[in-house]
Each structure stands twice: as C-alpha cells, then as structure tokens.
Symmetry: C2
Subunit: 404 residues, 2 copies
C-alpha cells in the first residue's frame, strides 16, 4: 500500500497568496461594483520592455526555421545568457564568478524551493522573521522543521531571527548555530536590507560555523544606496559559504515569463563534496531548462537598450514606492522599506492584527495588501504594500487610505 | 556544520545523456572532418508548426501592452489551456477528467522527477526494465532505492520488471508487491507498448494492492494501433490509482519550448488524504507556472490548424521510424518498436555490449544512438535509435549502417 509524505500534512492552512486570492475573490463577488486596487502580491504591472519584446519575436522566428530551431537546451542554460550574466552581474562588480557556476532556471521560486534538497535531513535552518514563506515551507515538506505550534505559529526546529523595528531590521546572530541560513536581501517583505559591512559579518559567521548561506537577491535591481552590496560575492569569503539566487521577475517584469538563475561556486564544499556538482546533477535529472525564447529574452535584459529601458521601469516602480511611503507617513503611519526595495512595510494602526488590517483595508478602502503575519511570527502587527502597481493605482490607493 | 543529502552520493556516474554528449564531443574534436548523425537523444528536429508560431507571436505582443500584459499565472495553469486539454485529450476519449485535476508544468521531466516527493520514504517503487532513467534516479536522490550493486547495476530496493524480447515486452506482475509503479507507455526506450486489455490488468492490480501508478504518456501521439489506450483513464478504475504525466515535447516539438502537464484525479486518496491536494500544494509552493506565451502555444496545439499540422509532423517522424526499422531488418538486425512510438529498439549484433556497440557505431558509421544498458540492467545488449532526425539523416544513417 502506498503512503504519502507525511511532512506535507504538517503544513498549516494554505499558501499565503492563495488565501489572499480567495478572500479577494469572495469580496469581489459580494461587491461587484467596488473597484479593487491590488497592492498585495508582488506582481509587476508594466509590460515587457521593447528590447525584450524584440528578442522574443526574433527567437520565435528562429523556432520556425529548421536551420535555427532549438530543441533541448544545455543543462546549465545557454552560454550566451550565462556569459551575459557573468559579465554584467558579477565581473562588473568585481565578483569572481564563472559561467559554469551559473544555473539558469525557470525562476527563483523553483530554485528557492528546490535548493534545500541538497542538504542533509538534520540540517538546522535559520530564517529572518518575517520572510518569503517558501524557505520554511519547502523545508517543512522535507521534514526538517520539527513540530508546529499553532498558537505561536512557530516550528520547533527552525531558528527564527527577528528582523523588526526593534533591531532596526538587522538580524542578530542566533543563539543556536544554524547549518543553513536563508537571507533575502533586500528583504521581502520588510523592504529593508543590510549594508555591505553587516553582510560581510554574516559571511564571516557562516565560514566560521561552516554554515551555508542561501542568498536570495531577487530585489537587487531596486538597491539605491551606495553601501549596499548587489551580490553576496562582493563580500570576502562568500565563495566558500554562499549560494545566490537571482530572478528576472522584478528587474525585468518576468513574473509571467519565468526566468531566474542560481550561482553555486565551485569552492562551496563539505567533506570534499562539491555542492555545485550536486546542483548540476539535480538540474540534469529533474529539470530540462528554461525555454530557448525566454533565455533570449533574458539576454536582451543585458543589452544596452534593455538596460536603459529597464532602469526606467525600476525607477517607475520606485516612484510608486515613494508615493506610498510618503503618503502613509502623511496619514500618520509608521513605515519602513521602499528605499532599496519595492516594498513598503507599515505598522498596523491601533495594534490591529495583520489579518484584521487586511480585512479593514479591503472592506473600507478596497485596497489589497499582504498581512505581515503571513511572513512569519514577527511579521504580526505589520503589513506589506507593493510598489508594483501603476502610478495611477498607487496614487488612488493612498488617497483612499488617507480618507479612512 | 552543514551536511549534504548523502543519497546524491550514491548515484553512479553521471546522467546517461550527459555521458553520451561528452563521448560525442570528444569524438568530434578528434575527427573534425566526420559528419556525425545524431539519433541518440530523443530530441526533435522539425521546427515549430505555423499555428504555434502564430500563437507565440500573438502572445508576445500581448506582453508588450499594459492592457494585455500577464504576470504570475494561476497555480494550476491558465484555464484556457486546461480546458483545451480536458476537451481534446480526455473528454474526446470518454475519460472522466476535470480541468482542476490538470496541473500545467514546464515539462514531463520535472514532473516525473518531482512526483515521488508526494510519497512516503518507505514506498517501494517498481519500474519497467529498461526505462527512462529519471524515475529511478529521482528516487535514489530521495533515498528510497537501497544499495547499488555496481556489478549488476541493480538497486537493492527497486523492483525491476524486465520488459524484453523474452516476454514480448509485456512486463509480468512482480513477485514482491510495489507501492509506486512507474509505467512509461508507449515505452521509452523500447518503443513498445501494452494493449488496452493488458493495461487494464495493471489498473486492477494497482487498485487491488493499493499501489499508485505513475503513468508517463509522453509518446501518446505516436500510437497507431487501435487497441492501444492513449490515456490510462480509458481504463476502468484508473481514477483511484493513477497519475498521468503528459508532455508537449514529442507531439508538438516543444523540447526547447518546455510545456507539460500532470493529471491527479481527486479520487486518488490514501487514508483520506488527497494526493491531488498535495500536488496542488507543491505547485503553489515550489513552482510558479509555465510562461504565459508558452501556455498560449500549448493552446494552439489543440486548434484545428495546429492539430492538422502536428499530425503531419508525427507522420513525418513515423516515416523515419519505418525507414530505420525496415533498413535495420534488411541489414540483418533484430528490431522492435517503431509502430506506436518514435523509437527503434535493436539487439546488438554478435552479443556486443550496448556501450561497445555505441562506440562501434560512432566510430565506424559516425552515427550516435543510445546504449540500452543506460536504461536499466535488462537493456544490456540492446540499443536505441530515434526517429526524430530528418528524413535525409535517417536515410543516410541507414545507408552507413548497411555498409558496415
């Protein structure tokens, strides 16, 4: 008789964004006349940039011609894309990363979820709290997280590193030593980040403790401050302790195009075993590459035209971030983030819970945000708004919130 | 200190097609003047059909316009695609499958590799021998396969079901009862399949033993015989015991486009736990959908124009299968398959091993095939040629083989 992976049964409720989707759908069907503004899911709204559209059309035409048609892609991704990544994201920042350390994928979510598979079942994970839920959930599914306490929403075997206004959103080194440390910087959902000196301390800590850092840099394109690293490989010693996950979703609007990559340096080893070779084996066995046309679109992200157009797109969203942040401040809210990331993190008023504020905002202002508690226990009492809407929507949402 | 998933270290050598790729590259660089014909990897060579190219261009244009731009796709895939699948692949064959039992993915390889994650660590798997290596390898990575015997190339905890000329390529029910049964039908690599009556016996067997069947129907489009089922759901009782994995790679040439889907019926439960809901949770947590433009390409596969064009493409490849099969017969080889699948399975001459014949064919005829032993111990002494080349290449390859 077959049995199921019982770890799945430990997962509480459903995935955060599914729950939000259901709540919004229910409100919409009950209030068909209300115009809802969605600043909840971190999904982009601007269309793909012209340079990317051009590359997509060109690649589609290649697929129509027997002499240029492409079948299975190389395991690690096409070299043209991996080289563009190395040149622009790494060499240009003096990071020592080679093309055969880059693994092109269908997006950062898959990679963030799958990467834990490389590690031993007894590895203890540490996460910033609050953070993107996939890190913990994928480890729950793998049986690493212990027992869930429904009241506190805490897993017994996860090391939570509170990242809140109290510590100025700089997590402290945990009391217990973790084996796998997830860092999402700039952080989703708080929109805050560490400066390079603070990040260097984490690299040193990981090397001293022989821990591995899973560094999710999906929001790298939004960094505006000089003293913030764009890649963890800007820090000394990161090649022996860090895996970096990157996305094209937020810098190029690829949420519906699907492209990302993960960097696993050859120097990341434990007992002589190369983690890079393990990831290569996973890619070769359980994945068949990102579409050729999408990899060509990724290449266009690094073209001169692409870079210029995408800089404008990022600026557009960051303008929204400013509108939301300043507007909320004017309305008396306490707000964080929005400087190096497209997320605004606010304290809920009158000590409302995150979900109560979600319902309040949905019902009274018809604005959808994301409850902070959905990102971890220390997110309770906070709320996330994204800058990924249109400028018009961001302005109107703020008008509505101010008039509450 | 972090540790690695030690199951990965048990994997012998590297993935079959990587090894072939390396051997061919070495031969090429040593013999730059030789024109190699590749009938090894099951990769298509015909360009995408016009209806698909048109759908891709149209979808790319939609991504350029703010009013039609699409971000994150729905978790299960777009409804337009899931409905087309249900109508054409299931309702048209009187299979009772609903759109919310379809999970659109980036391809059958990912799904075949990931599906084992839903099952308990002690589940005993059974595979046809020889078969597509991903089933066993993904279970090795999950620690289900026991100890590997290098001499026999057998895993102690895998139930092998020999599928050879001796049993006319119809596997017998195993002596030990399996929990998870992988069936790839039409079979890769043998190119043979079961008739519907024999498949029904497997469905009955699975229901009696409360086993789950993972039914990989990637080659369904090549079925030419009337008494062969195109879907396992044509069999009575399959909704309570079978998961079906489908690909667009072989019926529509999507090996570089990446699209597939998996069907998990709501009736597939164990102890009240819905396997469908577990897969939905995995999709929601570790995957972010196939690209919108690719899902539109998938929809075009089911358009009237698309169906007509793809039927021609399949006929083209099956014509190659005929050329190869008849040519090999004329040359004195013993051959199988090629009737319901684009694979020709031949007995190596003079009791050569599969890899010896691989080297022989590469060196003497400059033709690349796939050694049967790469697909499992019972594949030793066999060799696979694919019909996915061009007609010209298939004809020339056969000329060369005949002249050996």
């Amino acid at each position: 008789m077959f049995t199921v992976n019982e770890n799945y049964l430990k997962l509480p409720g459903s995935y955060l964004f599914s729950t939000i989707g259901k709540k919004v759908a229910a409100f919409e069907s009950a209030n068909p006349d209300k115009k809802i503004i969605r600043l909840g899911i971190g999904d982009v709204t601007q269309p793909l940039a012209p340079a990317i559209i051009e590359a997509l059309h060109k690649a589609v035409d290649e697929m129509a011609d027997p002499s240029t048609f492409r079948g299975y892609a190389p395991d690690l991704g096409y070299e043209f894309l991996r080289k563009a990544i190395v040149e622009n994201d790494y060499k240009a920042r003096n990071c020592d990363i080679e093309a055969d350390e880059i693994f092109v994928s269908d997006g950062a979510k898959s990679d963030s979820g799958n990467i834990q598979e490389l590690f031993g079942p007894d590895c203890r994970i540490a996460v910033c709290d609050p953070v993107y839920p996939v890190y913990v959930d994928s480890n729950v599914m793998a049986g690493r997280t212990g027992v869930y306490d429904k009241a506190t929403e805490v897993w017994s075997n996860v090391i939570y590193m509170p990242t809140t206004a109290e510590n100025n959103f700089v997590p402290e080194f945990p009391k217990e030593t973790p084996d796998v440390i997830y860092l999402c910087l700039p952080n989703n959902p708080t929109g805050t980040t560490l400066n390079k000196a603070d990040l260097q301390k984490w690299v040193d800590y990981a090397n001293e403790n022989k821990a591995v850092i899973i560094y999710d840099a999906a929001y790298e394109a939004y960094i505006s401050e000089e003293d913030v690293a764009h890649s963890i490989y800007e820090c000394e010693g990161a090649r022996t302790c860090a895996i970096e996950i990157r996305s094209f979703s937020k810098n190029a609007g690829f949420t519906g195009v699907r492209l990302g990559f993960t960097v696993v340096p050859k120097d990341l080893k434990v007992d002589g075993v190369s983690v890079r070779d393990m990831w290569a084996r996973r890619h070769g066995t359980k994945f068949n590459g990102a579409p050729y046309i999408v990899q060509r679109a990724g290449e266009a992200v690094y073209s001169e035209a692409g870079k210029a157009q995408l800089k404008e797109q990022v600026n557009y969203y960051m303008q929204n971030a400013k509108i939301i942040k300043e507007g909320l401040k004017d309305a008396g809210y306490t707000v964080f983030g929005g400087v190096n990331a497209p997320y605004i993190w606010l304290k809920t008023p009158d000590k409302m819970t995150s979900w109560d504020f979600f319902d309040f905002l949905l019902e009274k202002a018809n604005v959808v945000g994301t409850p902070g508690s959905g990102f971890g226990p220390s997110g309770e009492g906070y709320f996330r708004l994204t800058a990924f809407g249109t400028q018009e929507a961001s302005l109107e949402a703020l008008e509505r919130i101010k008039n509450l």
